[in-house]
Symmetry: C2
Subunit: 279 residues, 2 copies
Amino acid sequence: MRLIHRVDELRAALRDARECALVPTMGNLHDGHLALIERARRHGAPVVASIFVNPLQFGAGEDFERYPRTLAQDCARLADAGTDIVFAPDVGEMYPEPQTCVVLPPLADELCGAHRPGHFQGVATVVLKLFNMVAPRYAVFGKKDYQQCFILKAMVRQFNLPIELIVVDTQRAEDGLALSSRNAYLSPAQRAEAPRLYRVLREAAAQLERGCDAAGVVAAAEAELTAHGWQVDYVAVRAQAGLQPPTPDTRELVVLAAARLGTTRLIDNVEVVLPLHAG
Amino acid sequence: MRLIHRVDELRAALRDARECALVPTMGNLHDGHLALIERARRHGAPVVASIFVNPLQFGAGEDFERYPRTLAQDCARLADAGTDIVFAPDVGEMYPEPQTCVVLPPLADELCGAHRPGHFQGVATVVLKLFNMVAPRYAVFGKKDYQQCFILKAMVRQFNLPIELIVVDTQRAEDGLALSSRNAYLSPAQRAEAPRLYRVLREAAAQLERGCDAAGVVAAAEAELTAHGWQVDYVAVRAQAGLQPPTPDTRELVVLAAARLGTTRLIDNVEVVLPLHAG
């Protein structure tokens, strides 16, 4: 496995790679990331993992500074997982000049975007840059970041990028908590509480399947989280297609939530397909 | 020469083209465009000319509907000029879904952008799409669209596109008028008046070279155009690097203008490098 820090070196290494698969990450890797690498290996070669904590997608007061940087440990895990190239640029390599040209993606001000102004603009911009640096045939992302996947799929389609975006199911701890680098911020008590987020979303999905009204389901989910000490950014029921509020005819739904335990913000989502009789 | 309307057919035709040169146009070609094709042939092969009147870069009340569509005539001229492929998608092929993911480029609200809200966002977005469809090694633009060239160069750099952007000097009629498809809108009297725009810009550049103050130069240029029946959108002196208002140390300047004769909006620009003693 090669560790590359510079774009020109990366381009040289990939000059004749036509079936490259890219896994963009911010490092501090866990088993969720390794599932992305495993999937990437099934689709393309070489497998490139990028590690870059992207300042453009962090807002003021967010955790950009304290986000864990664990490059040596990440490289060891990526090598074990069969990664061919780790691309780990520094901020000056990624942004040699102020990034005055950016991607304005859809849904940038909704759901997580409503609570993280500029976040998805920063995500879409850095992912587009990585796509142009690596020129992958495949790019692999995790479904935990549901809105991010939706936005990046729209970007790939609408910018006519010759890339297939592959979404891998969320990897979870045994108690159901979605794997996330930010779980490391949790105190033991918060870690014990954290799996409630997924339980609440599954219960919401079950209620929707039984024909309950979305507004009532959302209110109940928010109430349960709040009652257990969470600060809820949002719980929302959306159509999987378009990620807009569902109409009475929408059967393919997703329940999404973002909520904080102390200063740690967790997100999760559960897809649900309503049975025909519920319509 | 092949005429291609569909993206998938274009991709198939270009599958193994590594040194492709792209000339994006809106059709209604004149000798200025043919100079771009000629330059493209010196740099890459195959040479692809795109013809697409892009609704995204026209504002309400602008000339999208009446912009001349002359595909057969354009193809004949492009074939004569040695073009290999003409790519002429219709609006549904370029925008099969609403374009909710767009490029937000720098300087989008300045100079021409101040008078054409959304114009440069539309230009940058469609050019990025064309770049991703064609995957050219070279892309050729005309210097008449000075701000456009500046913005697209910034996009190429900041999005890490593996493309070399080539800017070709403005082609002019014998009386100095910059060649433009929109010149065809001019009445004979307006056409006789139109060369004043370039004369005024050259005079402004000469005054700057002699050490005149930029604000006075701009005011004199605007006054002369207005006195001859032009509606002036702007005359501006900017630094070539950054396209911002110059500082007292800036020596490489450009004078840019946009002004209307009747309903026809013309633009032009003149670069000037101040002699050292003028600083």
